[in-house]
Amino acid sequence: MILAVTSAFLGALLAPLVYRWLGQLAGWGLALLPLGLTVYFASLLPTVVAGETVRHSAAWVPTLSVNFSFYLDGLSLLFALLITGIGTFIVIYTGGYLKGHPDLGRFYMTILLFMASMLGLVLADNIVTLFVMWELTSLTSYLLIGFNHTEFRSRRAATQALFVTAGGGLALLAGLVLLAGMGGSWEISELLAKGEVLRAHPWYLGALVLVLVGAFTKSAQFPFHFWLPNAMEAPTPVSAYLHSATMVKAGVYLLARLQPALGGTEVWSSTLMAFGLATLLTGATLTFRHTDLKRLLAYSTVAALGALVFAIGLVPLTSYYGAVGFATFLLAHSLYKGGLFMAAGAVDHEAGTRDINQLSGLFRVMPITGVAVGLSALSLAGLPPVLGFIGKEVLYLAALQAAPAWIIGLAVLGFAVGATLALILTVPFFRGQPPTGVHEGPPSLWLGPVVLAGLGLLVGLFPGLYNPLADAVASAVKGAPTSYHLKLWPGFNPALLLSLLTVAVGVGLYFVYPRLQAWMAQDPLPGPENAYVALLRGLLRLAARLEQTLQSGSLRAYLVWVFAGLSGLVGLALWRGGPFRWPGETSALSPAQLVLVALMLLGGLLVLRLRSHLAMVVVAGIVGAGVALLFLLQNAPDLSITQFLVETLTAILIALVLLQIRNIGEVPRGRWLDKLVALLFGGLVTVLMLGMLSEPIELHLTQFFAEKSLPEGFGRNIVNVILVDFRGLDTFGEITVVGLAGLGVYALLKRLRREEKP
């Protein structure tokens, strides 16, 4: 299994080469990759149906207990088959749909990368592996949605999808990490066995909310549904693959996967049912706003996803209907929606439009596509003898077992729109005059829809074919062995009545559809997408405002931030620490030193009042000379000489420059804020210094130097021996600094000299 996933990734990376090699046949050639994987997973069917699971694991990042581990049971097998199986047809379809497109090689690579990550996602056993794959699907779908990248709408849709799904992904990450912490394991298969521990854990609610946010954003649940219809900017193979059959089902998969671990609580079922129902109704309602084939299908996908989430919520409340309904409806939806999307693309490709109002009489010119659409539409409407009918029936049975009447009523309404949509989609094929110049597309365009629709019919007629796998899926979702006999004709029961009602309402809605459509399409409806737009606009405005206030371009402001921030932090620390002892004095101040100290303070104050730069330099130099004198009085001759020399040289350098600048500018006055900050900082330095002086210093270093200076350093000037021997490395750094300064001055002035030359 590890090999399967890895080979899918490697195969994807080779796609551009294959494309260059095979050219237009690349679609068929590349389809061998998903086809081979389908065959591989199909070969595992007997094992899984027999109730066994397969688990393969390899160490990935042992430091973080992350394994590259995979786990196969009914649920993951069904998904794996869907992904690789539909993937096969999508790749073939792409070859026809995007024939000759300059970016086709890249497209194959991206969509196969997507397939590989999706496969990894549904098979992953390790939480981190799952998350890695999860984010990879977001990334690849970002690139796929933005395929028509020169259009702003495409770019916007891509960014939106990425932002919403990756945002949810981050919540999911936090949730999964919490889950792992709660259950004490990073392997999902182990967590599933610890459902009771997880549910009783104080973090349960937090982790649940985070996981749900992740799943809901990915699976386009209300209120995050808006990104999915916008993502229809992508080319049709992408819409068909990502936004119907697979990626959007990742969230559903995750919920189903974790159902045994997290489900079974009041909050789980009620949340899933509430959001599922809300999504079902939102999708159904918004369907009426559109006439574009892909948009219509997109909203119907939203609705179906809502139904699936609703079903997962029902699983713990029902005996087995919920789980089986989920398993059946999932397959049915994937088959008919993938087929319908591809067919819609084929129609668009051949007829040049996707507006249902402009399409007519297509059946006569595109009979094969027409048959596929017809069969898929039956499934969408939930009519016999196709799988969609069975799926919906079982879901109704589940709802009847556990949900109150008003909820069932709303669900019927939501499903009814499916019937309406089925009519909307099929009518253009049979009504009106066929357009001229339109004909059936190449086999690559109709093969997928036909096979998928045919499968739906086949399984509908002989549900026994699917029954063993459905039981395995249901067992995985339920977390307990489940079996149910799928039948096309269950006999008269309340569910059948609901089905009839659904169809009736659906047909009724069809007749008001044109008017509803005209009325609803008028204005942009308020909805969560507006909130998204407002949020991002607000964010950008906030950012711009922040830049104006913080990153204002004023050096002064930056320095004030530094001093004020630092003083605040230091002050806080000192205040928290409480007062310390007053330092003891080691020596009295001699009169000469007192005068010096006073003079230096005065000099400092004088600098502040001066109005000439040159005078300021001089006075500052005098203060420096005072420091040198103080050093001399304190028995530091080396220091004193150096300080004198350096002060003089600095003053000369500044004077040299000042004399060359003609327009030197005024000496600006300070502000009260500067004074405050300066006083605060100076005060804190004094306090820190007093604190330092109150600590007993240990002079072990000094004693060592005094002892070793002559016998081992061979020098009597201890300061110099420290400089060149004990701490010679400091001096090495220091002369490097001096050399660098020389280099810098040279670089600065050399440029000047060159510029000044005529």
């Binding site: 916007r156 002064r556 350098l653 002086l693 400091d730």
Partner: protein, 130 residues
Amino acid sequence: METWMALLVGGLSAVGVYLMLRPHLIQFLIGFLVLGNAANLLIFTSGRLGSAFPPLVQPDGTVLAPYANPLPQALILTAIVIGFALAAFGIVLFFRAEQVLKTLNAEAMPERLEAAPAPSPVDEVREERA
């Protein structure tokens, strides 16, 4: 003596900071020099005061006590030299900046030479034509 030094260092620091906060770069530099002197005095004081002799070993191998702590002196020497290198580079940098930017007022030096509108994920942003 130590208390006085603490006050002196604090006072010089305040003066230095205040000068550094002025927008004029020459004053900034002078502020840096004053603050540097304050820092050196601080380090000097950190080795404690009250010496009577410089830290020189007599030819007979003894050091006359109480001698001044040589370690802070060495540290300050390094710091002075580095400070000097920084100041020397700085003054030439400011000189050069004045030649090119025609001002010594840091507030008048632009941080961005051209306007660049930020892209937005929801609205298409185009460059505004002047």
